[in-house]
């Protein structure tokens, strides 16, 4: 299943950074030495102690650094080892999606996933869906570039008439 998925159409495989809770889905035999998913080499995973460890700012930074999408994987809702990490992270990501929407960053670029230790099929399916969606969106999460802040500059002008 890994090789047939590896061929990404059009060559423009979206760059995705994924944070994976170490208690959630086991990825040891899904990635290579650099953390790339074997099935989707443009998806790079970083393991973290709990999904709740992620500061939303880091997700924003990843997009600014040039990633097309970011996701966080926690344990299934209700089963977080620390009881609340995944719920907290889901709320933070919802919040960040709303905040970034004001800067015209589509919500698809930020995803919260929840998969248990042995849920790898469902996890890979979710990653595949995300790759597909981002490919449809096209490249350039931070289309305005990392330094500029288009929302802050443009928003008043757009809303000025309203």
């Amino acid at each position: 299943m890994s090789t047939q998925a590896a061929t990404v159409r059009g060559g423009a495989a979206p760059k995705i950074v994924g944070f994976v809770c170490d208690w959630a889905v086991a990825t040891a035999d899904l990635v290579d030495g650099a953390g790339r998913l074997l099935a989707y080499p443009s998806v790079v995973l970083i393991r973290i102690p709990c999904s709740g460890f992620i500061r939303p700012g880091w997700l924003e930074d990843a997009l600014k650094a040039g990633a097309d999408g970011v996701f966080v994987v926690g344990c299934p809702y209700g089963d977080c080892l620390n009881r609340e990490g995944n719920y907290l992270m889901r709320e933070r990501i919802d919040q960040l999606q709303r905040r970034l929407a004001r800067r015209k960053v589509p919500a698809e670029r930020l995803q919260m996933l929840a998969h248990g230790l042995h849920d790898r099929e469902a996890f890979l399916a979710d990653v595949a869906a995300m790759v597909e969606r981002l490919q449809a969106l096209g490249a350039g999460a931070a289309a305005g570039g990392p330094a500029r802040r288009p929302a802050a500059a443009r928003a008043p002008a757009e809303e000025g008439g309203a």
Binding site: K15, P49, R55, H118
Partner: protein, 391 residues
């Protein structure tokens, strides 16, 4: 050996979850609420127990007729007795599932030993309350259970006889016995709530109740069982005789069943060793610290100069490991300059999950072996690696 077995059991537990989560949304997976279910059944037990208490007569001649009166004459008395009985079974099943699930999924590591130890006490007292409950019915089985209990206590060296006379209220049966058993049923049952306080005290938002659906299902289940298979007493107890056989309750009376097969001293030793092993579990550890990698990132540290005293980490920490203290001095950053409070991490409560780091918008918390700088660098590397793939 122990670690391999645990890994296999964890695999089994989590694979079971995958299957159950296909049927229910994961928020409703009943196995995520074993603790809440046990608490629910305990609550049902308390309510039905109070009802039964008003009819029970703790005397050698009055106990059995009073239970019969409750069952046959009091409106819904039989039903409530049945609910008390089946909720007790359900309580111990839920508690054992809770124990095994938390054991197999590593939920006893770091400072989680406190809920584990209090949980072992809850199990011991819960089992004792169940056994005394069976004696209170005062039928043939009650007498047999009391006899075996007495034998087992006497088999304990040095203090055995003294313990047995504490249980019976003197040497052998007397009118003092059943009031004492009643006290030993109600007292430890109340003590369960004290132990539950200990069980929850380190947790910020413990899942104390299951979702409403499961509350209704559990209530319906015990009521249905009580209606379909009513709880009944055996023949009245005849002190001085010992019945040959008794109906067995696998959930509470397992040690008594063993006592029928093995010498009582051996049963006491077995029970003691099993429970003793239970207390040791959190200290055995499943992985060496260096094998835990990112899961053992060190106790969270407050960056004093950046802390604004906003309390976000304090609200989000699931283990009450962060307390806010009056700030002894202003912070260094502009946002922290006029702070009133300062976050302090209590090392012994921290499980190194890093949730406080995610909660802090002011970069005032760090995990020692996974600093913000490390994460930022790894994000940059990850983007570069992904870029290289595309090129």
């Amino acid at each position: 050996m122990y670690r391999k077995a645990l890994t296999a059991l964890q695999r089994f537990t989590l694979r079971l979850d995958v299957a159950i989560n296909r049927v229910y949304p994961s928020d409703w997976n009943p196995l995520y609420y074993t603790g809440g279910l046990a608490n629910l059944f305990l609550f049902i037990l308390v309510l039905s127990g109070i009802f039964i208490f008003f009819y029970y007569v703790p005397s050698l001649t009055g106990a059995h007729p009073s239970v019969a009166y409750l069952t046959e004459q009091v409106p819904y008395g039989g039903l409530i007795r049945g609910i008390h009985r089946y909720a007790a079974d359900a309580f111990i099943v839920a508690a054992l599932l809770h124990l095994f699930r938390n054991w197999f999924t590593d939920r006893y590591l770091f400072s989680r030993d406190s809920p584990w130890i209090s949980g072992m006490f809850l199990l011991i007292f819960g089992g004792f309350v169940g056994a005394t409950g069976y004696i209170l019915v005062w039928d043939e089985r009650a007498l047999a259970v009391l006899g075996l209990f007495d034998d087992m206590l006497r088999a304990i060296p040095a203090v055995g006889d003294w313990l047995a006379s504490l249980l019976l209220g003197g040497r052998g049966l007397s009118e003092g016995t059943l009031p004492r058993i009643l006290l030993l049923h109600v007292g430890p049952a109340s003590l369960l709530y004290v132990l539950l306080w200990w069980h929850y005290v380190r947790l910020r938002h413990p899942k104390v109740w299951p979702p409403a659906t499961w509350v209704l299902v559990s209530l319906g289940l015990v009521t249905l069982l009580a209606a379909v298979i009513p709880a009944v007493s055996g023949a009245p107890a005849q002190p001085g005789t010992r019945p040959e056989a008794m109906p067995l309750d696998v959930f509470f009376l397992l040690p008594f069943w063993l006592a029928g097969l093995l010498p009582p001293g051996l049963v006491v030793a077995l029970v003691a060793v099993t429970l003793g092993a239970g207390f040791v579990i959190p200290y055995l550890g499943r992985e060496a610290p260096q094998e835990m990698g990112v899961r053992h990132a060190g106790v969270a540290q407050v960056i004093d100069g950046n802390c604004t005293g906003c309390e976000l980490c304090y609200y989000d920490c699931p283990y009450n490991a962060i307390v806010m203290v009056p700030s002894p001095h202003p912070g260094l950053s502009r946002a922290a300059a006029s702070r009133k409070l300062l976050a302090v991490v209590i090392d012994s409560r921290c499980v190194e999950c890093g949730i406080c780091i995610g909660a802090c918008p002011f970069e005032a918390l760090e995990l020692p072996s996974l600093l913000e700088a490390d994460v930022t660098r790894r994000v940059q590397e990850a983007v570069a690696v992904a870029e290289a793939v595309r090129a």
